[in-house]
């Protein structure tokens, strides 16, 4: 029992390297998913204005991703989707892509759904006059969206968007269930090999706290900068 609470493993070089690798994977997962999620989320939010059918599709997409747990979404992607495609297609994807790819896909789609909803609320906060003025100035439909409405919606929805970034960062921990060697996976691996349970789970706790507090600080910095106007 005593061995389970020792911290000796923390001073071992190979364990430290393992955790650093895990941190790198976590950050890569987060960065790629975030870029894809915000881009897709903006696109989905914009699609709401493209007619009833598009809006309905987006609503179905959002409805699925908000009502199904993220881990189940991950499992559907990683285990379920390859079954649906013939071996010739999946041969290439399985040989070259792996848990990491599916994790990015699942996490970014999940986050995009929430982001699009936040942006939608943001749109509601932008007064209709902005849209009318932009059109009066001769801006096309897409240009209006891109240059006038979206930035304002994003600014209105900033706290929610920052929260989504936080959620996405924490959600990367779920990728450990599909074999992605992120910080959580490494923690379990180290625990399994050394039985130093307390130390193994202390490291990811500290790492996550550092990263999320940094994210929160960035968020509030963004907030003060953008609402100074």
């Amino acid at each position: 029992m005593f061995t389970s609470t020792t911290f000796d493993i923390l001073w071992q070089r190979d364990v430290q390297l393992l955790f650093l690798d895990g941190l790198r994977v976590t950050l890569e997962l987060f960065a790629l998913s975030a870029v894809a999620a915000y881009a897709l989320g903006a696109l989905l939010a914009a699609l709401h204005f493209a007619g009833a059918f598009c809006s309905g599709l987006v609503q179905a997409f959002v409805g699925y991703h908000r009502n199904v747990p993220a881990i189940v979404q991950l499992m559907v992607w990683y285990f379920g989707v390859p079954q649906a495609f013939p071996a010739s297609w999946t041969g290439w994807t399985d040989a070259h892509l792996s848990g990491f790819f599916y994790a990015v896909v699942a996490l970014s789609l999940n986050a995009a759904a929430y982001i699009s909803e936040d942006l939608r609320s943001g749109f509601r906060a932008v007064s209709h006059g902005q849209y009318e003025a932009a059109r009066a100035l001769g801006l096309g439909y897409v240009a209006t969206l891109k240059l006038v409405l979206m930035p304002q919606a994003a600014r209105a929805a900033l706290p929610a968007l920052v929260n989504q970034a936080l959620s996405l960062f924490k959600a990367t921990s779920l990728a450990m269930a599909i074999g992605v060697a992120d910080v959580m996976y490494i923690a379990r691996q180290v625990d399994g090999a050394t039985y130093a349970t307390f130390a193994s789970y202390l490291v990811p706790t500290v790492l996550y706290l550092i990263c999320t507090l940094t994210l929160m600080a960035c968020g509030s910095w963004l907030h003060t900068r953008l609402s100074a106007r």
Binding site: P82, D94, A95, G99, G179, Y185, Q189, G192, Y195, T197
Partner: protein, 271 residues
């Protein structure tokens, strides 16, 4: 005189608390809590028709409970949680393809080995991998914190080992070509191979021959002796062979022979 009495009292107190006798507890509550797998055929799994836990290890547990004269309560454990479960006292004993390693022996106590299995690697039948050298630079799946993972890392030096939380996930990864091999203990391996409809086969080499034992909390000598006595009795009465044949024998899909009978720990501790 006073110091002598207090020393005796102190000694009695410590003796009482030092080894809270788990065997006595088990007899007092008339139940043996046994940790087995919940999702690994044929060791421990849920019978879809009756929704009861069944399997080789379930039967072994019920025999041990019977020999202790108590009722059996099955508690499912995941591979990674076997040792923590018995250390924390969540289960009294764990019978779940628990391989003996000196590392693990520091955490918990092991009974005699009630069977020994090779640890094979499964691969796709129509793949090019036949020997371990072929797996260089490739990926092999295993269950997290299992001995197949340990031996895979030791033996397959240039292969990436990807661990999953449960057997079916590791198997699916192989079936969907996300990995090129799967390292898992013999019993479960045969189960997966037989249900793979011919697409999965064994490699020619095995990673290790491993004694599988029952796990007991460290220091519970009375319980350990009772379990070892039960295992010896099972062996000598032939009942262990019967249970083996029921799940792995010639009548089943596995047709495995049980090499090496119940072996006491001392015999392979020096290996």
């Amino acid at each position: 005189m006073k110091r002598l009495i207090s020393a005796i009292l102190f000694g009695l107190l410590m003796a009482g608390t030092a080894s809270a006798d788990q065997l006595a507890d088990i007899k007092a509550r008339n139940t043996l809590v046994c940790g087995v797998f919940g999702d690994l055929v044929p060791l421990g799994f849920e019978d879809p028709a009756t929704r009861k836990p069944v399997g080789f290890d379930v039967d072994i547990c019920s025999e041990i409970a019977g020999s202790l004269g108590v009722k059996l309560q099955i508690s499912t454990v995941s591979v990674a949680a076997r040792i923590p479960a018995v250390s924390a006292g969540r289960v009294d004993v764990v019978a779940a393809a628990l391989g003996y390693t000196p590392e693990r022996a520091k955490q918990i106590d092991f009974s005699s080995a009630y069977y020994q299995t090779p640890i094979p690697v499964l691969v796709k039948k129509d793949g090019p991998y036949r020997t371990f050298a072929d797996l260089r630079g490739k990926k092999v799946s295993a269950i997290r914190a299992s001995t197949p993972e340990l031996f895979a890392r030791q033996t397959l030096k240039n292969t990436e080992i990807i661990t999953f939380d449960d057997g079916p996930a590791a198997y699916l990864a192989l079936q969907q070509n996300k990995v090129q091999g799967m390292a898992i203990s013999q019993g479960a391996a045969v189960g997966f191979r037989n249900r793979s409809e011919g697409s999965i086969v064994f490699m020619n080499e095995v990673l290790h021959w491993e004694p599988e034992c029952i796990g007991v909390k460290k220091g519970e000598t009375a319980l350990l002796e009772a379990v070892n006595r039960a295992l010896d009795k099972l062996e000598s009465s032939g009942r262990l062979q019967q249970i083996w044949d029921k799940w792995f024998g010639p009548e089943t899909e596995y047709k495995l022979t049980r090499e090496r009978k119940v072996t006491s720990l001392a015999q392979f501790q020096s290996e």
